[in-house]
């Protein structure tokens, strides 16, 4: 009986939370789909791309989108923009993901060593983390990049080495909490060696927040790579990256404004997708915000 009356009197709709989660979920799934398309398009570029990335077509320079044979048009040397975007994606995504891996490895090592061994090792490592956080990462990155011959590996390493601090802090605080947890004490009591405790017990327990941070770091790394390459301190032409495809956008704007649009969209799509994915992961992995 009570249920029947309840149906009639509705003061606050209870569907709100569900709706929100559905939207969130859908956005994360959309992000995954976009990422899949970007990855397949880039990785499969040698087979899927309509042209050769170095193929010059000086007869049709600055072709607008949908010009004969070039869906997204051509650049200042008559190279096919779509093709170059696909090959550039290989570099940009690879740098982003490799840099993310560097942040995870470095951040995890620093945080884990600092927390697990404590004492002066911990103090020194975490103060180093504090110090690194004082540098605006773009300054630090440009500073280093100017003195290093750019390559995919060096870019990933540089970006990774300037962005590991957040993960170190997460891992550090998580392990400190876990160290006082009973099951770690139990593992120590039965005489498990410390590296084994780190690998078997602590690693799985810190995975969730690190995974979220790593996803967001990938987004950030792609942004940093594109800026570095745009300024000319990153991937060098003729090899294409989404960033260096924009280098001449300003001077070419009067001739062909489209050249400025597509690489930026590619960057934004990739970064937005990683950000949404990280956000979705955070919601999914954190029971506290599940209802929000």
């Amino acid at each position: 009986m009570a249920d029947a009356t309840l149906m009639a009197v509705t003061i606050a709709p209870p569907r709100a939370g569900l709706l929100k989660r559905l939207v969130r979920h859908r956005l994360s799934i959309l992000a995954l789909v976009v990422l899949a398309v970007l990855v397949v398009g880039s990785a499969g570029a040698p087979w899927l791309a309509p042209h050769d990335p170095e193929e010059l077509d000086l007869a049709s320079r600055y072709a607008p989108p949908f010009a004969a044979g070039h869906i997204l048009g051509t650049d200042d040397l008559g190279r096919d923009v779509l093709t170059r975007l696909m090959f550039a994606g290989q570099i940009s995504l690879a740098v982003g993901i490799a840099a993310m891996l560097v942040t995870v490895v470095v951040g995890f090592s620093v945080g884990a060593f600092a927390a697990y061994y404590g004492r002066w090792v911990g103090t020194v490592l975490m103060r180093l983390t504090d110090i690194m956080l004082c540098f605006p990462s773009v300054f630090l990155l440009l500073f280093v990049a100017a003195f290093v011959t750019p390559s995919l590996a060096s870019m990933a390493l540089m970006i990774g080495l300037t962005c590991w601090m957040e993960i170190a802090r997460i891992v550090y605080s998580q392990i400190l909490v876990l160290k006082s947890a009973d099951f770690i004490a139990a593992a120590q009591m039965v005489g498990a060696p410390s590296w084994r405790i780190i690998l078997r017990q602590i690693l799985p327990n810190t995975m969730a927040p690190v995974l979220v941070a790593a996803t967001l770091n990938t987004a950030n790394a792609i942004l940093l790579e594109s800026y570095l390459s745009f300024l000319g301190y990153g991937i060098q032409p003729p090899e294409a990256s989404w960033g260096n495809m924009l280098t001449n956008a300003q001077s070419d704007f009067q001739v062909d404004p489209w050249l400025a649009v597509f690489p930026g969209i590619a960057i934004t799509l990739a970064v937005t997708s990683f950000n949404f994915l990280g956000d979705g992961l955070r919601d999914a992995l954190d029971p506290r915000t599940a209802g929000r």
Binding site: M1, A2, D3, T5, L6, A8, V9, T10, I11, A12, P14, A16, G17
Partner: protein
Amino acid sequence: MNAPAPALPLLEVEGLSVAFGRALAVDGISFAVARGETLGLVGESGCGKSTTALALMRLLAGARIAGAARLGGDDLLALDEGAMRERRGADIAMIFQDPGTALHPMIRVGDQIVEALHAHLPLSEREARERARALLGKVGIAAPEERLAAYPHEMSGGMCQRVMIAMAIACSPRLLLADEPTTALDVTVQAQILDVLRDLVTETGMGVILITHDLGVVAGMTDRVAVMYAGRIVELAPTVTLFARPVHPYTSGLLDCIPRLDSGWDEPVPAIPGSVQGAMDLPGCRFAPRCPRASAACAEVPRLREIEPGHLVACWNAP
């Protein structure tokens, strides 16, 4: 004290139900409170006492509420949010269990009381401040002038609860909902707070719903008692009657659980076997699984019926 059911009730609740999603927290309860009367609402935690109070205040987020709650001619549950806001604090006020978290930590106590006054009364800043000081004096705070400028973290729990009471009665509400007002406090402080409440009721003639799980508080403070179990009222009676002649097995069980001074130190305190867990999903009487007197009839929901004037019980096996 031995008041029968009031003839002209201040608050009349009829068939109040509250649901969160698919879960029913309060299931069609009805009761009334008269002017100057204190009604006790007792039961174990999770039985729907606080939910009932918050539903009357319309302060439950994401809940569906059904039924009616008439206070001075208006159905509180049918008012639009704007009209309800005007009632809160002015006609119906509430004090909460934990005074430590219920006051804003970053606003001076005086300003919090003044804000409550300004919400409903056309007072100048000076009049409001004067009134706030008088209120603090009324709830027994020494040196009210200094306390007005204090922050909650600078005061004890009992002091904070006095401030909460001062804030709740600031605009002379007709009905006060007190949700476990002394649970979070030391025993000595509890008595002081209850004294303050009792004096206020006598002085202002407001109606009070006192929510508690402490039967000692019920005995000392209330005129009538409603015993709740798993979202329903199982027994409703004048306090004296209830303590003298409890009828519902759950009420008897609760009363038996009070440790007595004259019982031997090695006698175990009796407890009601089983737990309230899952009781909300039972089709018939929800107390049946824990009830010593359960019978086949309990498969059907027992309705509240009057067994003597003013004494209602929901049990098939009651005399």
